[in-house]
Each structure stands twice: as structure tokens, then as C-alpha cells.
Symmetry: C2
């Protein structure tokens, strides 16, 4: 596992274990995060980590898959809120100087398979 | 642009231009698509293409970014429904024999930036 992948896994581990202070050293001084779904940009580790720290609810986080596209690391993550609807996070990370420099993150939620397309679909066996 | 990337761009172009018949030759005989959000699996080109053909509404589709993670091609796509809420597609494609063999697709939707985290966020300048 390369160093960049380790940083990404450690970031998700910190969030899963509610150890937000430990996430700070993983992030570059010029860190930014973009959440394209809401058009939000978080400049700096503090704004990003405080947003995550204050996200309502408790979550069980599991890294499903890590991919490498050149210098970019991509994580697919399962997020299960206590008593809420599970969702996914698909995140694209860039790096500089052994830290995470940038994250672009999507959070697709789960929903029941719609009836109109049931005739063409079966179920993913997980 | 490599052949796999061409296949992905052509698939989205077919969908954008409502030329569903032209999508068939891009897909492998053993093609499958997984939509993890709903747990749906589409086996074969027909089930996948008919689902897309029958998806309610008209859409303007734009490929925002293509990445390569080994043999996997990843597309980030903007989907703007006529008169509806825009969404994104983040899709992971695998290939065999010059065709698309597998797609795993997430469809994160857009939403207004929540007030509770406004103090930490600014706006993405696009």
C-alpha cells in the first residue's frame, strides 16, 4: 500500500473512530475539499474537519475499495448512520508533500429499487 | 485518448443524443451494470439500455472528467434533467475484447448547501 493510500485509509479511520483531532496532521496546509452536490468548498483542514465533526448523527464507516488513477486516490466508502439511511462516499484525493492536498467528494444515498424498471433489473448479490 | 475511454465517451454521447440503438455495439455480450444505491444489477446490454431508454424525462449529459485507474475508466458526468434537479453520475467501467464489460455507477444528486455548516463552507467557483 503506498503512502497516499495510507493517508486516505487513515482519514476514514479517524472519522469512523470519531478521532477528529487525529485527522489534522493528514491534511496539507493548503487543503481544500469540494462537495459538488451542494457546491460547497471547504478551505483548510479546520473547516473540513469541523464540518465532519459536527455532521449530525453517528456513523459506521467502511472503506469498500481504493483505486489509483495516476497520482489520484479514489475511495468508495459505505456510510451507515445509526438509525438512518445508508449512503456511499466516492472521493477523489490529490496529494502534496506527503499530505492530502485536495478532496472532491460525492455522497450518493441509497433508495429502494423503483418498480418501473423492475422488469430489467435483478439484485446485486453482496 | 485510448480505446476504452472512447467507448465510455461514445456511450454517454449515445445517451445524450437519445441514440440508444447505437449503444448496443459498445457493450460486451456478458455486460453487467451495478447501481449500488438501489442494489440493482442489470445483466446484458438489453436490460441496461432499456432501463436508460425508459428513464423518465429528458436529459442534457456532459462528461466532466475521465480518469484511468489501471484498466478501469472512471467518468464524472453532469446530468441535467429538463425542468428537474441536476445530478451527477460517477461510473467505473471495465472492458474486455474492445467492449465495455462492466459498469458500476453512482448517481449523486444536487441539493442546497445546508445552513448548519455554512460557517465552514464557501462556494465552488465553476
Amino acid at each position: 500500500m503506498n503512502q497516499n493510500e495510507k493517508l486516505v485509509r487513515e482519514l476514514w479511520k479517524c472519522f469512523n473512530e470519531v478521532r477528529f483531532e487525529d485527522a489534522y496532521p493528514l491534511l496539507h496546509d493548503d487543503f481544500t475539499a469540494e462537495w459538488p452536490q451542494s457546491g460547497e468548498l471547504f478551505r483548510g483542514a479546520k473547516n473540513f474537519i469541523e464540518t465532519n465533526r459536527n455532521y449530525p448523527g453517528k456513523f459506521l464507516i467502511e472503506v469498500l475499495k481504493i483505486r489509483h488513477a495516476g497520482e489520484t486516490v479514489i475511495s468508495e466508502v459505505s456510510i451507515k448512520p445509526e438509525g438512518g439511511t445508508p449512503l456511499f462516499a466516492v472521493s477523489f484525493y490529490e496529494f502534496s508533500g506527503g499530505k492530502i492536498l485536495k478532496a472532491v467528494e460525492y455522497f450518493p444515498d441509497t433508495y429502494p429499487a423503483p418498480e418501473w424498471r423492475a422488469k430489467w433489473a435483478s439484485k446485486i448479490l453482496s
